[in-house]
Subunit: 122 residues, 2 copies
DNA sequence: TTGTCTGTTATATATGCAGTATAACAGACG
DNA sequence: CGTCTGTTATACTGCATATATAACAGACAA
């Protein structure tokens, strides 16, 4: 999996990492039980401090995407809880509102949603 | 329209304001040409500094949602450009990825999208 | 004209977050 | 024992957030 950071991007590095790993997991580029690179390893590859990578892994762990193992490092979780639907809805409503303001109707909005959903699966 | 801020929320105040106003416009709580409260007025009502409100209005202006008029203040724009579809897709893909990780399929995802779209319209 | 509203601009300051740089510790393992 | 893993602690710089003033120019009503 190719992970890259954009220092011109306004969102913080640890968030960019977290997002890209989530996209990678969704795309099936990781098997459940597979290990991510160690925090020091990935930090060295990206040229950032290992605390920054550690923060990304901490987020992913808190959200249930990975499990931290002292031996194997960060491991892709087998079962991921689906409790955070509340936050998903909140973000979706904001995106829907932005679309509505620009004259996008429900049908077109759903077409865009479906298109992007399928694009995630590589 | 009721605007409130949550100081416990991690996202900055100016962003909370911006988001709520976008939701309000999408819900049809403002007519095109209608004025928002002045920056000093809204700041006083919310108990924040007027620079914070000014920043929200500046964002909304840059994004084409409102037009700044020295006489009438912040005015809801009549025509809103729909160029930023790229950013919409980027955010949608991330939300889709999070849903996929939690075992949500395309049909269910689209159902959630449609539900939230309709909820925006009051 | 004067007073008051509007947005705009310019400073200054306090606070917290992002990111880096070290250092040190404990567990696992060959 | 040496080396890998994650974890914790501390300190520092830079930037964003948010506040607090102050002042300016245009619009407009009394």
């Amino acid at each position: 999996m190719i992970i890259s950071i954009d220092t011109l991007n306004t969102s913080p590095i640890y968030e960019q990492l977290r997002d890209q790993i989530v996209l990678g997991i969704a795309a099936g580029q990781f098997e459940a039980g597979e290990s991510l690179p160690s925090v020091r390893r990935l930090a060295a590859d990206l040229g950032v401090n290992f605390h920054t990578v550690n923060k990304s892994y901490r987020m992913l762990c808190d959200e249930g995407y990975i499990v931290m193992d002292r031996r194997k490092g960060a491991v892709i979780a087998g079962e991921m809880p689906r409790n955070e639907e509340l936050d998903l809805s909140r973000k979706l409503r904001l995106l829907a509102a932005e679309a509505i303001c620009r004259g996008i109707g429900e049908d077109e909005f759903l077409k865009i949603c479906g298109k992007n959903f399928r694009e995630v699966l590589t």
